[in-house]
């Protein structure tokens, strides 16, 4: 249960990687604070959640097309630390590696850019309580520099969808 929550947070971290110009913006050192709700799984109840992240350019390689985000997210039930290393490829697509500190679980994620939003997804299906899900994250940038994030799980068999995470992020000066 907790690992899915971490995964969702990790996926969200990828969502904070905007393509092209926005991607470049994330290579500046910046702190973010997000407030919203999260669910541990589609059938679990909602809880208030907060995240705090710091994005910095990756020390090795080309700092303009890769960066690292270190973050911590919490709910009243618990918190987890996460590390994300993201990269923008020459074809515009994004890839990311997410590592959770607790058990060093590694998740590979992909992303693509649309005119007004970014969509990220986990290429592999996620198994939860015997059901397979496809994960999708939607990131909408606001004109004031903040952004909205939602994470949705699509059950592959029943084609039902569950939004298990929604959060509004502001840059911390």
């Amino acid at each position: 249960m907790i690992s899915l929550f971490r995964l969702s947070i990790g996926a969200f971290l990828c969502a904070t990687v905007p393509a092209t110009a926005n991607f470049l913006a994330m290579t500046d050192s910046q702190k973010w604070r997000g407030v919203g709700y999260a669910q541990q799984k589609p059938t679990a109840p909602k809880q208030r959640a907060q995240c705090r992240l710091t994005s910095t350019p990756t020390a090795t390689g080309n700092p303009q097309n890769s960066f690292t985000i270190i973050g911590r997210c919490s709910t009243p039930a618990g918190a987890s630390r996460l590390t994300l290393m993201a990269k923008q490829h020459s074809n515009g697509r994004l890839s990311a590696t997410l590592t959770t500190r607790v058990n060093n679980t590694v998740h590979e994620l992909s992303g693509e850019e649309h005119p007004d939003r970014l969509v990220f997804y986990s290429p592999d299906h996620i198994q939860l309580d015997g059901l397979a899900y496809r994960m999708e994250l939607l990131l909408i940038w606001r004109s004031n520099g903040s952004f909205h994030l939602s994470q949705t799980l699509f059950a592959t068999e029943s084609d039902t969808k569950h939004t298990i995470l929604e959060m509004e992020f502001q840059a911390i000066p």
Binding site: Y37, P45, Q47, R48, Q50, R72, P76, G78, A79, V102
Partner: protein, 712 residues
């Protein structure tokens, strides 16, 4: 050496107080090496009229989520972690995302507490107290870092809740320890500044001369710096027990310096040649022996099985000797320098000599002169009676004794214990597998002590015991490491216990151990352990060792004085007036229902070593007179007491006034230390001008002349 004082470390001393070569400590050490400690948990107690109020419980929830962003916070346990199944069978968090109205939430909490009694340990049935347990990855090592962490939590709790009429208070062992260390630093400064100011004031008043007062103060200050520097060099740390020692060294230095200055002035007034050399020659044997007897009293503490008390004894022994050497080096050097420049005329003032005569205590000495037998008999009766009462002094120790009962962390702990749950913990080790054996043991313990009082691995894995490894892996690491041993073979079962003091816990352990031993389901359960068990079981042993330390100090001091006087009978007899102050003060403790604690044990032992100094000064005068008349006679005894009485009175006044600062201390052990020491010093002065001369006069009437010879 003095510069090293800046490296003086402050520590609450809890980690070394019970470090000893005892079976209980070895078992605790073995347990601590196998399991992560749960000592790094901060308790935040919130209080308001009703936590069913949606805005109020949301405010606490905000605190919980934000607290997890503070460095070192690893996990939080609160009622917000609990799930709830409604009577209709709907599962949700106890405090759902969409908060219900106050009345509905109140019903929900009431129903939840009936479902899960353990919830009652985190929120009170009247919904006015709510507890949040903050688990740390590690508690910062230095005091300032600890204070930063606590300030962050305090500020966050206040900012999240204060506007809604919610009161937040931090407690738990880390908070108690940090508060103790903060007070230690504050008290250390206060006691030394107060001692220096009182010493200077009294030196000026009693010597009747500002210049002499300044010389005395500077010499004493230097003695403290050198002694404290040596203590740092020897690895000494300031803790609850040792915080009074530097101030005591300062006050003792004042007393010694005044003795010496008085004698130098007397020699100058008498027009003696080489007055400074002569004064040092006359005073140093007594001052040296007095320093040795004080050092012996401190050194006797090295017989304690407690590492903390041992360190105090070791450092105190050296500090006393260094301070005496400093005084007998610096004061003569200052006067010799003044003499070299022919600047000693101001020393011998009429005002000063008149002031000195006011402290003669002639009335008391007269009683000993007029009625020596009655005075001596009264002293012996008081001694015998008080000795019998003193022997009844009970032992008393509490982990909270470093702070006042109304100090916020202590008061908060007491509120948690009365409103929510006991927070004292008794630990038992148990093998994890076979898992069914763990289940049977847990169920048996729940049946014996109540389900809400037993915490352990089985609570976490109850739904799926066979997959305990996966369940544990989902927990925050510090929490899972508290539950299972590093080699993952054993788990710890915790019995919560309302802690009052060590005596009560030791009695409780004595009661439950046979009950546990009689239950076959608990055959694999290890013996009780943990910090509470260690402190409760070993504190009695540590405290009983004070009697051994004290007897050793009396014995060695008696032998030394006998050797110094070359008279064993008088050497042994004069110990009675010196033990008397201790037995009398101990008896008063019995009547006031005080027990022998670490601070009182240390105070009585050290105070004996200091009180004996007065006797040594009286005997020194006798020795000086014995160079002309070797056999002790009543007129010699009375002369010796009359000659030393002003110095004894002044030094006692300095000791008493210098320790008065302890009474306004925020730390009860310091007030106890000060009160007991002052009591002993006053009794010692009375004993030395009344009982001692009367006893010696009686000896001159009883003993044959050959037993009255003193000195070479």
């Amino acid at each position: 050496m003095a510069i090293s004082v800046t490296r003086l470390a402050f520590n609450d001393g809890l980690s070394t107080a019970f470090e000893s070569d005892t079976e209980t400590f070895r078992a605790f050490q073995n347990f601590s090496e196998r399991f992560n400690s749960d000592g790094a948990e901060i308790l935040v107690l919130f209080h308001t009229d009703d936590f069913a109020h949606p805005q109020k419980n949301t405010a606490v929830e905000t605190f919980i989520t934000e607290a997890q962003f503070i460095e070192n916070v690893s996990a939080v346990l609160s009622p917000f972690s609990f799930q709830y199944t409604s009577p209709e069978g709907v599962e949700d968090f106890l405090f759902p995302y969409q908060r219900p109205a106050q009345s509905e939430m109140a019903q929900r909490l009431s129903h939840a507490q009936a479902q899960n009694p353990r919830l009652g340990t985190l929120i009170s049935p009247d919904r006015q107290h709510l507890l949040v347990v903050i688990s740390l990855t590690s508690y910062p090592e230095t005091g300032p870092d600890q204070q930063v962490l606590l300030a962050q939590l305090n500020e966050l709790a206040t900012a999240s809740t204060a506007d809604l009429g919610i009161n937040a208070a931090l407690s738990g062992y880390p908070v108690l320890r940090t508060e103790t260390v903060r007070l230690l630093f504050q008290e250390f400064i206060w006691l030394n500044v107060f001692g220096a100011v009182m010493g200077l004031t009294l030196a000026v008043l009693t010597l009747g001369n500002l210049g002499l007062g300044i010389i005395t103060t500077l010499s004493s200050g230097l003695a403290l710096l050198w002694a404290a520097g040596a203590m740092v060099f020897l690895g000494f740390q300031i803790n609850v027990i040792t915080v009074a020692l530097p101030a005591l060294i300062l006050i003792l230095s004042f007393a010694e310096a005044i003795h010496l200055v008085l004698e130098i002035r007397q020699q100058i007034a008498d027009g003696r040649a080489n007055p400074i050399h002569r004064a040092v020659r006359r005073i140093f044997p007594a001052a040296g022996l007095a320093a040795i007897t004080t050092g012996i009293a401190l050194g006797s503490l090295m017989l304690s099985p407690s590492a903390l008390i041992y360190q105090l004894g070791f450092a105190g022994l050296f500090a006393t000797l260094i301070s005496t050497i400093t005084i007998f080096t610096i004061v003569p050097l200052v006067f010799l320098t003044l003499g070299y420049f022919n600047r000693l005329s101001w020393v011998n003032t009429d005002a000063g000599l008149r002031m000195q005569r006011r402290f003669g205590l002639g009335g008391l000495i007269k009683i000993a002169q007029v009625a020596p037998v009655k005075t001596c008999a009264s002293g012996l009766v008081i001694f015998a009676t008080s000795l019998c009462i003193y022997a009844q002094l009970p032992y008393s120790y509490s982990l909270y004794e470093g702070l006042k009962p109304n100090a916020e962390p202590v008061a908060t702990l007491r509120t948690i214990e009365t409103q929510l749950s006991p927070i004292g913990t008794i630990k038992f080790e148990h093998p994890i597998e076979p898992i069914d054996q763990l289940k049977q043991a847990t169920i048996a313990l729940r049946g014996e002590f109540g389900a809400q009082n037993i915490l352990g691995l089985y609570d976490v894995i109850e739904d799926d015991p066979l997959n305990w490894r996966q369940t544990l892996a989902a927990l925050p690491l510090p929490l899972s490491q508290q539950l299972i041993s590093h080699d993952a073979t054993s788990t710890v079962i915790t019995l919560v216990h309302p802690y009052q003091n060590s005596g009560a816990t030791a009695a409780y352990l004595g009661e439950i151990t046979p009950r546990i031993a009689s239950m076959p389901q608990l055959a694999a359960l290890g013996p009780p352990t943990g910090a509470l068990v260690l402190s409760s079981l070993t504190s009695r042993e540590m405290l009983s060792a004070f009697a051994r330390c004290f007897l050793f100090a009396v014995l060695i001091s008696g032998v030394l004085i006998s050797w110094w006087l070359r008279n064993a009978i008088i050497g042994i007899c004069v110990m009675i007036p010196n033990v008397l102050p201790i037995t009398v003060v101990g008896s008063v403790m019995v009547f006031l229902d005080y027990g022998l604690s670490f601070s009182s044990g240390v105070a009585l032992t050290i105070a004996f070593g200091i009180a004996i100094d007065d006797t040594v000064h009286v005997l020194n005068r006798l020795r000086i007179q014995a160079k002309e008349t070797p056999h002790m006679a009543p007129h010699m005894i009375l002369n010796a007491v009359r000659q030393t009485a002003p110095a004894l009175m002044i030094s006692s006044l300095i000791l008493v006034m210098g320790l008065l600062g302890n009474f306004v201390s925020e730390m009860p052990p310091l007030a106890i230390f000060g009160g007991l020491s002052i009591g002993v010093f006053i009794m010692a002065l009375l004993s030395d001008v009344l009982f001692l001369p009367a006893l010696l006069i009686c000896l001159t009437q009883i003993l044959p002349a050959k037993f009255l010879r003193i000195g070479k």
